[in-house]
Amino acid sequence: MPQYKFRVNGREVSVDSWDAEQPLLYVLRNGLGLHGAKFGCGLGQCGACSVLLDGKVTRACMTPVQQVAGRAITTIEGLGTPDPVVAAFIHEQAAQCGYCTSGVILAAKALLSETPHPAIEQVKQSLAGNLCRCGTHTRILNAVMRAAKA
């Protein structure tokens, strides 16, 4: 079976996949036991599967494993402890079911790494590709703004 080598959360990994088109999401969840990225739609519409690929927010459900060979991936499990964005989310209790949370946190990480002090409108726009069904929007926005101030 073909092998693919890449970095996940700073660790070099090598995975087998019978299909070069297999989305990264299933490799992370089933092959590497990293469940933080979720299956939401498989269509790149909801953001639940978000990871950082070379620092950029990427939909793992739409990214074939062959495309990540030699590259660096960060999942929610790879953030520091404590991570300031995670701490802000906990402080604001910015989750209900939490199924969208890891994707939203990674989108916020990517935003804050480029724009450390965004206006609320920038935060809203940069999270527009992440859906939250429970309606936790206010708390999530407050958490990102809190992290930006910290």
């Binding site: 299956f39 498989g42 402890t81 209900q96 939250c132 926005l141």
Partner: protein
């Protein structure tokens, strides 16, 4: 750093959420499951740790935390020593499924009474040992004082063997130290770090991945399958049971590709009416049941005597639970005479009953275990996914995990029904409501257990029940009216399967009643708030209306807003009120919107809400629920409508069925009115009920156009404005 931040906000560190996952552990000896016994609900270990057992499951609403607070308060044992086991038919007593916002008012209150009964018994034991009157003793920090005997040394590891005493005295609200405090939810840190194990993440050894292939026509028959079409995909097994078609594979991606690529030939089926013009279908459909819901005074003579008469028709569409994570379940038929199903169903006990009947498995031979999934907001596809997993596991004699794909969830979850409401009212010469009539039409079907999709296709006999919950409440005005009549017509049939979707019926009914109340206020030339206040006398109703409007900075004037009418962007404000189910929470919501007249785009700027749900158990948890109710219902009002053609649902992804995005999220301010002397009510539904009406009223104030049909989609607003 984290602790500092947390304490600054006044949040308190919480307890643990236990998960047995059904693995055999040391603590799992046979338990009492009798819902009248104290031991069924709580166990105090030799180390003084307390385990709460409940059938009320926490789907991200925070009810576990609230229930623990209620028990911890009565027992005098610190929150940090609590663990909650939820929704495991082998371990938890059945005191009802989760729904109808009943977790705290029924589940929590029940467990509080068990804890109060236990406290009386513990103090009795301590009194004997200390030779002091029990009335002079209390439990603080897990210790009897005075005397310093620990609860663990009194009872640790042993059963209390007591029935719950409905008269066991409760602590007085003035003495509360745990109830009313914003304890942190223990699941939030796990959810923010990817450590939470959802049903979608759960696996058992030897498990295979399953997917179901759905027909293009919802009730089409499977004619043939060409297994050679998936020859290139490794280790896939096709399962066919009559018209149920599934695949299982060791590798999840193989199962997904196989389900997608498997060629199957289906019969032609086109018996749906289509969602276009569905309001007429609902209005003219064959009626199965007529009910008079309210009949006070004599509405027809009241109407005839009125100085001014108005009427209007409101429509609420079919909507989906649209869970962010598609439904998922794991089933294992391999146990020694036991079938195990892991699910995030809100009713694990009732699911066991449905599945047991369908598959001929006696209750004692099946264990259903809850593991939290993505938010479900009622009975989404979870019960169906459990049946799919069980069908596949029985076929291949291995544990099978089924996760629905996005198009399965949007296309096949049972839906919240469409509602059509015709409302009429008469005003007297002073502009007061003299008479009111509401007539509603709702899709329906027979009572009883629901049909699940997989077993339906597999030809397994099952119920045909079509229940969407209490659909007919809050269809009468909460304002003083002498003559009121509310009639409900439930149709014989429904184009799509029904189930309860958050605040069933009440959102659509309040949308009609509170929008129409605004129409009456406008007809009377009165300010919308003034018109409402004049018709109310309950101080709790007045308090929420006054608070929400004060927070938004309500300016008294009749609607529409004349100053706003001539510019390109109109602004307005609206208000709506509900006395939930005419018996529970009092909620008022006020809103500020702008409407781009040319484009038709509605922008919700600010929402304020005053919420009186009796005793507040966890203010932060309740606030989170109220905010969620508001955002989700804004989404349902602005965007959501299930679309279908003659054969199937066509709004099967987030483009076809859009929901509110972060870019549209308004600022939301919530004021909780605490009534410590009253019983606690639920937080999961009530605040959703006035949202659509408050929004419609604000749009009317801004534009003079009355939106009577949901969703308020841009094209529709543009056409109307």
């Amino acid at each position: 750093m984290e602790t500092l931040l947390l304490s600054r906000r006044g949040l308190l560190v919480s307890f643990a959420l236990g998960a047995t996952f059904g693995r055999r552990g040391a603590a799992q000896t046979a338990r009492s499951l009798d819902a009248s016994e104290v031991d069924s609900f709580l166990a105090i270990g030799g180390d003084g740790a307390v385990t709460i057992y409940t059938s009320k499951v926490d789907v991200g609403t925070g009810i576990s935390t609230a229930i623990c607070q209620m028990a911890a308060e009565e027992l005098g044992i610190p929150m940090a020593r609590f663990t909650v086991i939820q929704g495991d038919t082998a371990l938890t007593p059945d005191h009802g499924g989760t729904g109808g916002s009943s977790g705290v008012p029924r589940g929590g209150v029940h467990i509080r009474q068990a804890a109060a009964t236990a406290r009386v018994a513990l103090l009795g034991l301590a009194a004997e040992r200390l030779n002091l009157p029990a009335a002079e003793l209390s439990i603080v920090d897990g210790e009897v004082r005075p005397g310093g005997i620990t609860v663990a040394s009194l009872i640790g590891g042993k059963r209390l063997a007591l029935r719950i005493d409905p008269k066991a005295p409760l602590k007085k609200p003035a003495e509360y130290t745990v109830v009313g405090k914003p304890f942190l939810r223990p699941d939030v840190p796990a959810k923010c770090t990817g450590r939470q194990i959802y049903i979608q993440d759960f696996a058992v050894p030897g498990m295979l991945h399953g997917r179901v292939v759905r027909p293009p026509g919802m009730r089409a028959k499977l004619l043939s399958v060409d297994e050679s079409s998936i020859r290139g995909i490794p280790d896939v097994q096709v399962v066919r049971i009559e018209s149920f078609l599934g695949v299982v594979a060791k590798d999840e991606w193989a199962a997904i590709r196989a389900a997608r690529e498997l060629k199957a030939h289906w019969s032609d089926w086109r018996e749906l009416p289509g969602s276009e013009g569905l309001d007429r279908f609902v209005r003219e459909g064959e009626i199965g049941r007529d009910e008079t819901i309210v009949n006070r005074g004599d509405s027809s003579s009241g109407m005839a005597a009125a100085a001014k008469r108005l009427s209007a028709t409101y429509y609420w569409p079919f909507q989906s639970h649209a869970s962010l994570g598609p439904s998922c379940a794991v089933a294992d038929v391999r146990g020694e005479g036991t079938t195990t199903v892991w699910t995030s169903s809100q009713g694990p006990h009732s699911l066991r009953t449905f599945l047991g009947k369908m598959f001929g498995i006696p209750a004692e031979k099946m264990r259903v275990i809850f593991i939290q999934g993505a938010g479900s907001y009622g009975r989404n596809g979870n019960d169906d996914a459990a049946a799919d997993a069980l069908l596949l596991s029985r076929a291949v004699k291995r544990p099978v995990r089924v996760q629905w794909m996005r198009e399965d969830e949007h296309g096949w979850d049972p839906k919240g029904p469409a509602q059509l409401l015709e409302v009429k009212a008469g005003l007297d010469t002073e502009g007061r409501i003299a008479a009111w009539e509401t007539e509603m039409w709702i899709p329906g079907g027979p009572p009883g257990p629901p049909a699940l999709v997989g077993p339906e296709a597999a030809g397994i006999p099952q119920g045909r029940g079509q229940s969407a919950g209490q659909m007919t409440l809050n269809a009468d005005p909460p304002y003083r009216t002498e003559h009121v009549r509310v009639a409900a017509h439930t149709l014989k049939d429904t184009p799509l399967r029904l189930s309860n979707l958050r605040a069933p019926g009440k959102i659509g009914n309040v949308f009609a009643v509170e929008s129409f109340t605004d129409e009456l206020a406008a007809a009377a030339g009165m300010d919308a708030l003034e018109f409402r206040l004049r018709g109310l006398s309950d101080p709790r109703a007045l308090a929420v209306l006054q608070k929400a409007t004060e927070m938004i900075g309500w300016q008294k004037r009749p609607s529409p807003n004349r100053e706003s009418a001539e510019t390109g962007v109109s602004s307005g404000r609206g208000v709506a009120y509900v006395h939930y189910k005419q018996a529970e929470n009092h909620v008022a919501i006020a809103m500020e919107v702008t409407v781009e007249r040319a484009g038709g785009k509605i922008v919700v700027r600010r929402v304020t809400c005053a919420h009186d749900g009796g005793l507040v158990v966890n203010p932060d948890g309740l606030r989170n629920q109220v905010e969620g109710n508001i955002m989700q219902t804004l989404s349902r009002t602005l965007h959501e409508e299930v679309k279908f053609d003659r054969s199937h649902v066509t709004s099967v992804d987030w483009t076809g069925y859009p929901i509110l995005t972060f870019s549209e999220a308004p600022a939301v301010e919530v004021a909780l009115i605490d009534r410590p002397e009253l019983p606690p009510l639920g937080g999961g539904e009530a605040a959703s009920a006035p949202v659509a009406a408050a929004l419609g009223n604000a749009v009317f104030d801004a534009t003079g156009v009355r939106l009577r049909r949901v969703p308020f989609a841009v094209e529709r607003v543009r056409a109307e404005v």
